[in-house]
Symmetry: C2
Subunit: 433 residues, 2 copies
């Protein structure tokens, strides 16, 4: 049987997970035995590792693997941006298909990478880049291709979901919970990309391109993280029947714009009704709801990170390449490969339409709820509920939940409310679905 020969670049958590699967003695499909690791590129060959590797497998020069005519597939699991991008592009240009778990590179340089793959007649597969072990890229490219995708909304960052779950269950403070997450290995030493929502924005950008077919300007995605979340918001949300989750959202907008499809995309901490299927997604798990026509609504749920789950996705991509390469044909599988087929653009922040939650600290005087209500009304913002939740020392906390409204109208109302004489502070603002 023809083997599929791979070179792995990077041997951290994911690299080791891949090695373990391919050397597993468990009861797996025999096709896994057809994958052969020809070389592994690491920074330091002499580093002590918990997996003992034959020395002739290791190199500290990733380009040696890219140039090796024996190797069919390059597996990039080193992380980082610039060097990883260089390695991916050089591999594709050398006629090798690439499997990568690198969401940051794909979200930023997807266009160049997909185009290069097509130009050189090879593939770049990215199942491990989004939602760890959950099959989502493959289903989008194959099983759902018969549909028009209308909306995707998901919990696609495990670190922040771990923190929010912990804060909710134990009424714990944000900073302390972040420290705990770091200690347990669920958050990185520099947690910025996760807690500020950039990681989720990378992922929703990749998913949006695959689902809707057009190039997305990654920087145009309105992104907020969980670093401003106050335990009070979680308590109030729970009291009103909601959970707070960091959501990534992407939807066809009905804003007309000639031939380019308008997309309503954002990432932000959000209230979701407790009865909503995403509300039950806890800890480092991820889930994504996809609404499509004629399919209806499906949800894919599972572990969003970790060595085993991520390696599982990488190896399934390698198997897909192997199955395709076995066919020994010069033509490209149009479902396994990816090419843009549509013009898309992200609508402006002010045009984004969604429900909002606002917590206002104000003087506990009669009529303040009426004034706030009037201001929203004057700006054409319809309100779902307005509740006074706490009053002490002459202060009151008022929580407003709006119906769906454009950011433009909402921000204008907010500005006007903030200068009311009774209003002391707009304490927090969240999205709702």
């Amino acid at each position: 049987m023809q083997k599929c020969k791979i070179g792995i670049i990077g041997f951290g958590t994911v690299g080791k997970g891949i090695y373990r699967i391919l050397n597993s003695q468990s009861s797996i499909h025999p096709i896994l035995k057809e994958i052969e690791i020809v070389g592994i590129a690491v920074k330091n060959i002499n580093k002590k590792r918990d997996i003992e590797l034959e020395n002739n497998l290791l190199t500290n020069n990733p380009f040696k693997l890219i140039d090796d005519p024996n190797i069919d597939v390059i597996v990039e699991v080193m992380g980082g941006i610039d060097i990883a991008k260089d390695i991916i592009l050089k591999s594709l240009k050398a006629g090798k298909s690439v499997v990568t778990a690198n969401k940051a590179v794909i979200a930023r340089f997807g266009t160049e990478i997909y185009t290069t793959a097509t130009k050189y007649g090879v593939y770049v597969l990215t199942e491990a880049a989004v939602c760890g072990g959950i099959p989502i890229i493959e289903p989008l490219k194959r099983s759902l291709r018969s549909n028009q995708i209308n909306k995707m909304v998901g919990i696609i960052n495990g670190t922040t979901n771990f923190i929010l779950t912990k804060m909710t269950k134990e009424k714990a403070d944000y900073k302390e919970t972040l420290k705990l997450a770091q200690k347990l290995g669920f958050a990185e030493f520099d947690p910025t990309a996760d807690v500020e929502g950039h990681d989720a924005a990378d992922k929703i950008s990749i998913l949006t391109e695959l689902a809707f077919g057009g190039k997305i300007n990654r920087d145009s995605i309105s992104t907020e993280g969980i670093n401003q979340i106050n335990i009070k918001d979680i308590e109030y949300a729970n009291k009103l029947g909601f959970e707070i989750k960091l959501l990534a959202f992407s939807e066809r907008s009905d804003i007309n714009s000639n031939d380019s499809l308008s997309l309503n995309i954002w990432v932000g901490p959000s209230l979701i009704p407790k009865s909503h299927p995403l509300a039950a997604v806890e800890g480092v798990n991820n889930a994504i709801l996809i609404e499509a026509n004629p399919l209806g609504e499906i949800m894919l749920y599972g572990p969003g990170a970790g060595s085993g789950p991520t390696a599982s996705s990488v190896v399934s991509d390698i198997l897909n390449l192997h199955a395709s390469l076995l066919k020994n044909s010069s033509s490209i599988d149009p479902l396994l490969s990816f090419n843009f087929w549509k013009d898309c653009h992200v609508i402006d922040f002010n045009q984004i339409s969604k429900k909002n939650y606002l917590r206002i600290i104000c003087l506990d005087t009669p009529g303040v709820i009426g004034k706030i209500g009037d201001l929203f009304g004057n700006n054409d913002v319809s309100i779902e509920s307005i509740v006074q939740l706490d009053a002490s020392e002459n202060k009151a906390e008022i929580v407003v939940i709006t119906h769906e409204v454009t950011n433009g109208k909402f921000e204008k109302s907010k500005k006007e409310i903030s200068v009311l004489s009774e209003v002391e502070l707009i304490a927090s603002q969240l999205s709702c679905i």
Copy 2:
């Protein structure tokens, strides 16, 4: 661009759904335009239809399509067993790949069908046969192939889930709810296959073969339906923190049997804790939990039936075939095709190990709970809880929930309990997870 020419056999709900997708003007992937319907075989050409078809598209002879050298793929959506099986096998032997939604045929004649497809170098794809629109077959064959699957448990019959949801929410009677389901089109005129669990058994048989790699004797699957479910059981289950769902279950058993993998498979109405992800699956929706190594646990959720969802799965199979055929190679894609790779067998009913729920009607005398507890203990059956839930006119209702135990030991205890002088009736028995 090379077109993929298909012949559709059967033009009911699913057939019409396929036609609608392929003639849709919505914003779908351009590859869909490469699928061309060459012919549709129906019973009665002159029947009035809500979709107007050109007359030269219709035939009442399915074998005309199978023999047509212009056609690449036969889509069997006529239903039934014997003729459908004949059509599938003849198509494969004529060198045509087949897409089918027919779970009954695949569950019964999978071995012959898969083997014939391999022999003739073509494919038989079955995404629509299990869980309607949920991508499950494709993920099992591709995305999860890097894993050892350990367990699958799911709600995979929409009709019974609709009935149980309705009974739970409205405290409605089984027979009346079934009538309503029939009126609404969620249950067939003859509901036997659904309500007695045979449809779910067909589906778990198909999934088990794909996941574990071995032939399954369909008739050896222990199957119970919901036709004996009493509203009292639903009330008691709810009170104790459970929902009742019709589950299909398939798991590696640790029973040693040389080289053949032992599988613990059953279908039956079951108590599941309200916090379990499957507990929230309502109405005609389906969901399946898959536990795999190293992936962990994932859940796939979505519409389990209906014209749009099922047609979505059929068309995605057609697209997969088209993408593969485009490669114009005589070799077969080992992930798209399916061949058994392992010896498996279903363990005996008495060896099946699971938790159980038992409702016993007995005299309201002191000591009866002790006696029942002792009998279970003597048979090595460990009890999770035993509760007296209702007492009137000298009668008491006792509910027992056991820990995991083999059917053999459980049935022996049950028999001994049923002849206790205090016991009037063993009113019902359900599984638990």
